[in-house]
Subunit: 261 residues, 2 copies
């Protein structure tokens, strides 16, 4: 398929390369920052364009891979044409943001992209949606060329997926940061805790997270939790996070029957 | 060295096996639950004992590997003898809990132990402390037989380490649970989010967590965060966790200069 890529960030870059590897043609690149458009266009052998009027009329797909708050502006700026499908790549944006266009779809790659790290796109789970049967068929067929893991999903479930990803990945990484900050205060290297982190994640490869929960809150060890909260009292934010998540764990695993034994 | 193991849980079991593999002798096992003591004793070719008076007088080490709230009771129950070192294995318990004994030490393995999963103990970071030079020398020498990663650390820093581990591992696993619960509500398999989790952790193998933070809070994307909070409003606990950690991330990465550009 012949494609225009609107956007030149991490998602646009990785997606463009994966599209080309799978035999499709990315023929035009647009970015809010024209220099970025030129750079990506050079990398993938496309033409950069400076405005939406320059999008070729005979393309099959126009992919909008810009920041979430810019999708609506970009979608409304693209001239309305019958023959092509307009696609966005966002987790938490409803397909209806593309309602100006008769054929629209979503292709949401569930992965964290780093600019300079090459990634095997065939293993990236892709979640797709179409505004009609034809759009869905086209985006499904495209997705299956890119990845072995393709799921059709509606906009509501896609937001749930994005929220789940925020908890499991963005928040997790922040807890790693907090952990590193705590260790640095005691001049302990973060390296020393990494084996424990890797083992924590290895465990969920084969087990449900609820089945392998450990720690003071899981055991409802009030002595240890009180001691930790006392030590954290000088950092109100860490204190709050510790208290809130511990409370949540205690409640989840509390067994009222155990007090009857 | 000739050792008595008090406790028969996950830590006691893994530690006993590692001690034997490294050429030491675990000759006696005690547990609050005598059946557990017998089971572990059988596994490692030791004798089980039913009371603290039965601990051999000529042992080099007595290791207390029981739950944190039981350490004090066990330590005070062990007859006081000059010639041996009493060791506990807890992260958040001060060495002073062993003050009845002239020679005491701590050997804290920073790892999450599962009963049935064999683990390469030589890669488990061990943190040691002694109440005098002699105890420290003995526990250091023992630890170095068990693991390649041995660090001497005082009780205060060891608690900090334990708190850091709670954030990076126990809380992280709980966020995986929350993520799974959110996905199940939309009938999405947790399997689909695992590649993203593994990539999140792969990233910190080579990078500082603060350098690879991503997500709506990092970008201070108010539109997405508001939408997610609106969807989470029916689960006040998830709503609170989402709000608190997002706030914390926004604050950490806020760049006041960016609004001046």
């Amino acid at each position: 398929m012949r494609i225009a890529m609107l956007g030149a960030g991490n998602v646009a870059t990785h997606l463009s390369k994966a599209l080309i590897r799978s035999g499709n043609s990315v023929v035009q690149v647009w970015s809010r920052n024209n220099e970025n458009a030129i750079e990506l266009a050079l990398q993938i052998g496309a033409n950069s364009i400076a405005d939406f009027e320059s999008i070729d009329e005979d393309l099959d797909l126009v992919i909008i891979a810009v920041s979430d708050d810019a999708i609506s502006y970009v979608a409304d700026s693209i001239p309305n044409k019958e023959n092509r499908v307009i696609i966005h790549t966002s987790g938490s944006t409803d397909i209806s943001v593309l309602k100006k266009h008769p054929n629209s779809a979503v292709l949401y790659p569930l992965q964290t992209f780093s600019k300079d790290v090459d990634l095997d796109f065939t293993n990236v789970p892709l979640f797709v949606e179409g505004n009609n049967e034809d759009s869905l068929t086209k985006v499904l067929s495209l997705a299956k060329q890119l990845s072995k893991k393709v799921t059709a999903i509606n906009s509501a479930d896609r937001v749930a997926l994005h929220i789940a990803a925020v908890f499991a990945c963005n928040f997790t990484n922040h807890l790693f940061s907090v952990s590193q900050d705590i260790l640095e205060k005691s001049s302990i290297s973060f390296e020393l805790i990494k084996p424990l982190i890797f083992e924590t994640v290895n465990k969920i490869a084969e087990n449900k997270p609820t089945d392998v929960q450990t720690g003071p809150a899981k055991r409802n060890d009030l002595g240890i939790m009180t001691k930790h909260l006392e030590i954290l009292r000088n950092n109100p934010e860490w204190h709050k996070i510790y208290g809130l998540i511990s409370q949540n764990i205690v409640k989840k695993y509390a067994n009222p029957k155990s007090s009857l034994k």
